[in-house]
């Protein structure tokens, strides 16, 4: 992507403090300030201690509470200053009015960064809250980095550092970094990513953003070798110009997916010109994001799907695709959707149609592209032949295989076996993997589920298992064909959509 000129123009000296992000995201030792002296405590501190242990964090954990004692077999230190070894990162979950002094002691013993989970700061809108937050900023400026306050903290699967209240997040590391003010959005995406196949390098929910926030985090993540795809949920930003320049610089290095919340009608602003009345916050934001080269998404599902596509597909645009599936209106709807997103489904040449047609049931099948296999029980080996055949057409740069697995319920019933035995889902996913390896062209799997009622729990299970098999073979999976095609279009727009 030739974003070079843009980047050089916008690069300028930053006044960001030197930060040891390695110690923050991969700490060898952490302190948790504000654990309760009681193992049954329900406070954030104790919750984070339990979650961090459940995640299998391999470093040393130092619980801190002025009362001392022990918790889950760990000694509770009365003060951070009593901790015998170095501490890289600290979780602060004490009452808001004790946060400044806690932070001060962390600074004193050389902690690189903290997350402040406590609330009771500027978000209250009270003078007291704002003053407490200003004190946090003053201390931070003297040499310690702060995530929060009023946040769910950071998540780094590689190190086992987890978000509040996340004991069950994936430890599998991956290319996607996620940044949001919102803790709820972060923990939701962390959980969703686990089964969707979105693997994270790191996640930061920064809450009030008293110190570290969107622009500086973009600056860092753009340079972070563990991160290949950056994803953000934004409500408000602090500094438009800085955000814009960091965003433009980041998109010249790697895709940045932005979900901007709160785009409803701009407040009533009295304006005299047409231009000003046209430029409500929605259209300005959309234009700014486009100008900066960001990938814009409109909801959490689209965000997750775009992340999946960027993380799992090769970094290029896919202009021509083939779609292989069984039955229904797949052909027409696929073409309609693809056209909407500027993607072609070229008709295969006659010799390939003949080759593909020879392995498909007749009548009812069609080998033109979209390829309608006519029957949901066409086996993995035949599907492999179909995909291998279609890949022969050099216009095809990516293939989509749609499997309507719920049809296997009938087969399972007829033979009196569980659906997971009736459907050859493992073989299918391996065949698709073989096709990718032989052709060098990516394949995306689509697993629609029309049957989500309580009587179809076995189908839901089959689809979940199939998804897992695909993902373990590096193949992205989407629920609907439309989702897959839209996600491809995001990839296309990023890698191929720039006007030179």
């Amino acid at each position: 992507m030739s974003n070079k000129t843009k980047e050089t123009r916008r690069i300028r000296k930053t006044d960001y403090p030197t930060t040891d992000y390695e110690r923050i995201f991969h700490p060898k030792a952490i302190a948790i300030l504000g654990v309760s002296a009681d193992e049954n405590g329900v406070g954030f501190g104790t919750g984070m201690l339990r979650a961090t242990m459940a995640m299998g964090y391999e470093g040393t954990i130092y619980p801190v509470n002025p009362k001392g004692g022990t918790i889950y077999g760990l000694e509770i230190y009365r003060s951070v200053e009593d901790i015998p070894g170095p501490v890289d990162f600290a979780v602060i979950a004490v009452n808001a009015r004790y946060v400044p002094e806690s932070l001060e002691t962390c600074l004193k013993i050389g902690v690189a960064g903290v997350e402040i989970l406590s609330s009771g700061f500027s978000e209250l809108g009270t003078e007291e809250g704002k003053e407490l937050e200003r004190r946090i900023q003053d201390i931070a400026a003297r040499g310690i980095r702060v995530v929060g306050p009023n946040c769910f903290g950071i998540y780094c699967p590689a190190s086992g550092i987890t978000l509040l209240p996340g004991p069950d997040l994936s430890r599998e590391t991956g290319p996607v970094a996620f940044v949001a003010q919102s803790g709820g959005m972060s923990i939701d995406f962390a959980h969703a990513g686990k089964w969707l196949g979105v693997r994270f390098s790191k996640m930061i929910s920064f809450g009030n953003g008293a110190d570290l926030r969107e622009a500086e985090l973009l600056h860092y993540l753009a340079r972070d070798p563990e991160t290949r795809v950056i994803s953000m949920y934004i409500e408000g930003i602090k500094d438009g110009e800085r955000f814009f320049s960091e965003l433009a610089a980041a998109t010249s290095k790697k895709p940045v997916i932005v979900y901007k919340g709160g785009l409803s009608a701009a407040g009533a602003r009295s304006v005299a010109s047409h231009t000003a009345s046209m430029g409500g916050s929605r259209v300005i934001w959309q234009s700014i994001l486009r100008q900066a080269g960001a990938v814009q998404v409109n909801d959490t599902e689209e965000m997750a799907q775009a992340n999946l596509a960027f993380a799992m597909l090769p970094p290029k645009a896919f202009r021509g695709i083939s779609i292989v599936g069984g039955g229904g209106a797949i052909g027409v709807t696929a073409c309609d959707t693809a056209e909407t997103y500027g993607i072609e489904i070229p008709a295969l040449p006659p010799e390939l149609q003949e080759r593909i047609g020879s392995v498909l049931p007749k009548p009812g099948s069609s080998a033109i592209n979209p390829i309608d296999v006519a029957n949901p029980f066409v086996g993995p080996q035949a599907l492999k032949e179909v995909l291998l055949g279609a890949a022969q057409d050099e216009r095809i740069e990516l293939q989509i295989i749609v499997s309507l697995l719920f049809h296997y319920k009938g087969l399972a019933r007829a033979f009196g076996i569980p659906i997971t035995e009736a459907a050859p889902y493992k073989e299918l996913t391996q065949c698709v993997r073989d096709v990718i390896d032989q052709t060098g062209k990516p394949v995306i799997a689509v697993l629609p589920n029309m049957t989500r009622g309580t009587e179809s729990m076995d189908i839901t299970e089959l689809i979940a298992l199939t998804r897992q098999e695909y993902l373990s073979r590096g193949i992205p999976v989407f629920d609907e064909l439309h989702d897959a095609i839209r996600a491809i279009s995001h990839v296309n727009n990023y890698y191929g959509g720039k006007i030179k």
Binding site: H274, T275, M278, G279, I288, R290
Partner: protein
């Protein structure tokens, strides 16, 4: 590097405590930034009118011109396709009467011919500062709202992308016997509208509507600049 000519016009209006520039002033600011505007003269009396008619030539457009009057069409202050001196004199009297004592004069303007109308503009976003707009002009601006924005300063690519962003982008091509619009000129105009916004914090909004494509050349036919 502020343009001095433009600065003078803007300072004068600010000193007078005005909230807008007159159309004529706005166009002088535009011209100072190499943005093509209609050939025009501002006249206040009959002698001026006669001289002006000679300078502009027929057919022409006559408009009431005052910083205090924003929407001229609604107030009957625009006479288009004026073809003779007699018509011009009649229009002159009617416009002055219609201005109801507002300070200003009558603008004599070449009549720019072209079927394609565009809009360009500038607004200040509280987060991102001056943002330039491009889109379909004339009555379609508000009806179709087919516009795109970019934050200033604009690069050539930003300006080109804006033109691609609007749904009606084909209007710029060679269609129905019309020449393709001069893209380079449009790019320069958009970049320079952004420069005006960056150079003058006192200009809150700019509306250039319509910008008519005459042959292949875009010309600003009406202009509004709102001050702080």
């Amino acid at each position: 590097m502020k343009n001095e000519k433009a600065a003078k016009i803007i300072d004068k209006a600010l000193k007078q405590g005005r909230k807008t520039l007159s159309e004529h002033e706005a166009k002088q600011v535009l011209a100072a930034y190499d943005i093509p505007v209609t050939k025009e003269v501002l006249v206040g009396d009959k002698t001026g009118l006669e001289k002006g008619l000679k300078k502009i030539g027929f057919p022409l457009v006559m408009k009431g011109c005052s910083a205090d009057i924003a929407h001229k069409t609604e107030k009957g202050l625009i006479h288009v396709d004026v073809r003779t001196a007699t018509e011009a004199k009649k229009a002159f009297r009617e416009i002055l009467a219609g201005m109801e004592g507002f300070e200003g004069g009558v603008l004599l303007q070449e009549m720019v011919k072209g079927r394609r109308e565009l809009v360009m503009g500038l607004t200040r976003d509280p987060q991102f500062g001056p943002c330039v707009m491009f889109g379909l002009g004339g009555i379609f601006t508000e009806i179709l709202r087919d516009v795109a924005f970019r934050r200033a300063p604009l690069e050539i690519r930003d300006a080109k992308e804006m033109m691609q962003d609007i749904k009606g982008r084909k209007i710029l091509d060679a269609v129905r016997g019309m020449e393709a619009a001069d893209q380079k000129m449009l790019v320069d105009m958009l970049i320079n509208v952004g420069r005006i916004g960056l150079d003058f914090d006192d200009i809150m909004e700019i509306d250039l509507n319509p910008v008519i494509i005459s042959g292949s050349k875009p010309v600003v036919v009406d202009a509004l600049m709102v001050l702080k």
